[in-house]
Symmetry: C2
Subunit: 329 residues, 2 copies
């Protein structure tokens, strides 16, 4: 039997067919076409799934279930996307709509950050571990928490584990959620870009040169990489930006360690591509600051392993989230 | 059958015998005598338990188990107090030591904040609810999290749910844990006292009168009540202190709502005696700020119900923490 994992993003739909050990045996992607609303998006998902199955000579009778990693507030029990920032869904019965076009009984849906955390727990850096946290540093700061091998979804509402929307600097920078000083406002790629742009304005006003300007000009934009690259060239402003970014990130990560004491805390998303440049100084601060620092049992802080496949694997693994020490790959 | 709940504090040992519905049918307390080390404390606990049973004509054969709510880092599986701030315990095998003096097979031990959260979930304001959080505003800020009817203990170490040691103001006030800007540093009774003392120094330096001075003089000290009482008299400085205190508290509480989306979040500890003076303005901010604020499913923010009995009831209930919709009172 196979499972289908669908990773629905605001830009692309990525679909994978996985074997029972969650190896992706085939995958494909298409741009997300939002022009025909939610139903159009679902039609695209179903069509691509069928095409991929045909190409790989897999019959629908061989599909155990379909899993979907979806952006936004998800009611997994009712099979509904309550709300999505970047997609035309509002209280949209995505499971029923998909089933109209693809005749499978079992469909699991989950928030994409939660699915990515599950993927890391099933097949990635948190493999074989009961309690883990994944923090995704992308446009926002996503959070997923795995407790006893299962996604922790929160008690009420479909919005538990919104780890990015915890304030680390009361009264600070305005966050997209409306609060001031959220972890996300500082530690997302967007947060780092904001800091870089602010710094460049300041340098410009003072007439101080910096590698930041050259890099931004070469790339045609300021990105989360700009500061890291300037730092690697020994640039003073770049170094300051990266150090401050890591210092703020460490505050948020240490908070999560003190709350969850996870066996593994993995870091994914675009900023995590900085690798050990990010991880080593970060781990140093977290180890020093965390509450149980004198305890011999350590947390593993790691860069997430599954990169762009995390959504597909997490979606395909949604029916495998009951920890028994065996079912996991 | 009965269960014994022991609430061990730095000042007093409180013991209760509970019936199967966790009603306290008899209780007693003695001062904690630390002069003979950990063994002396345990001897006191065992002696008081026996005395209470004798008085109430209860035989040891009628005791299903003994539960203990203990301050500090607890390894419930090994039956060890790893470390306690206020008591002479370090990697102390409290279950074995107690069993030497009181011949009962089953002993459960738990951190006191976790036990209090369980008590509220079993018999208090979070009764019948699967997911709840309790925040205790006392000398520190304690946190207990109940997920699916069980205490959430964290993945590694015996220090999960250290909700008070999450930074809400990066770089802010120094906390007892060594970090700067912790929730505890602002929202504990100690935090409010610190703010009150700072404010009084400022007023004194400027020669500005305030009710704060009269109240502190009458009581012979500044307490967490000082600011609340001054506010109730219309005092400007008192009002400012209470408003700032509630504003910071709301930051920490909203963080926990965004992480756990608890059905009930209860507030206990000394400061919670301020009741609706605290709760109403607090709930207003949390409702406005929390991530799922547009969702119709609301969280109940409540003052904890069990007050000084929470430790005894939580300890006595440690063997009852498997949610099945029936076992709970």
């Amino acid at each position: 039997m196979y499972t289908v994992g669908i990773d629905l993003g605001g830009t692309n739909i990525a679909i994978g067919i996985c074997d029972e050990d969650l190896n992706i045996i085939a995958k494909a992607s298409i741009p997300t076409d939002k022009s025909c609303g939610g139903e159009g998006v679902v039609a695209g998902m179903a069509a691509l799934t069928k095409q991929l199955m045909r190409k790989n000579k897999i019959d629908i009778s061989q599909i155990e279930y379909v899993g979907m990693a979806l952006p936004g507030s998800i009611d997994s029990e009712l099979g509904i996307i309550e709300y999505s920032n970047n997609l035309p869904f509002e209280n949209f019965p995505i499971c029923d709509e998909f089933r109209k076009r693809f005749n499978v009984e079992k469909i699991y849906i989950e928030n994409d950050a939660n699915a990515a955390a599950l993927a890391e727990a099933l097949c990635g850096v948190a493999r074989g571990v009961r309690t883990s946290v994944m923090i995704t540093l992308g446009t926002g700061v996503g959070g997923g928490v795995i407790i006893d091998g299962k996604i922790f979804k929160g008690g009420v509402n479909s919005a538990g584990a919104e780890l990015g929307h915890t304030v680390i600097k009361a009264g600070g920078r305005l966050c997209t959620c409306g609060r001031r000083g959220c972890f996300e406002a500082y530690s997302s790629a967007t947060g780092l870009i904001t800091s870089t742009v602010e710094m460049m304005k300041e340098l410009e006003a003072k007439g101080i040169p910096s590698r930041l300007f050259e890099i931004a000009q070469r790339d045609g934009k300021v990105s989360a990489k700009t500061a890291f690259e300037a730092k690697s060239m020994g640039d003073e402003a770049g170094t300051k930006l990266v150090n401050e970014y890591i210092s703020d990130l460490a505050v948020g990560i240490t908070n999560m360690v003190n709350i969850f004491q996870p066996e593994v805390l993995s870091i994914g998303g675009g900023v995590s591509n900085a690798g050990s440049e990010l991880l080593i100084p970060l781990a140093k601060i977290v180890d020093r600051e965390q509450y149980a620092r004198n305890n011999p049992k350590k947390h593993l802080l790691a860069i997430a392993a599954l990169k762009n496949d995390a959504g597909i694997i997490g979606a395909a693994g949604l029916g495998r989230q009951f920890y028994d020490g065996k079912k996991q790959r």
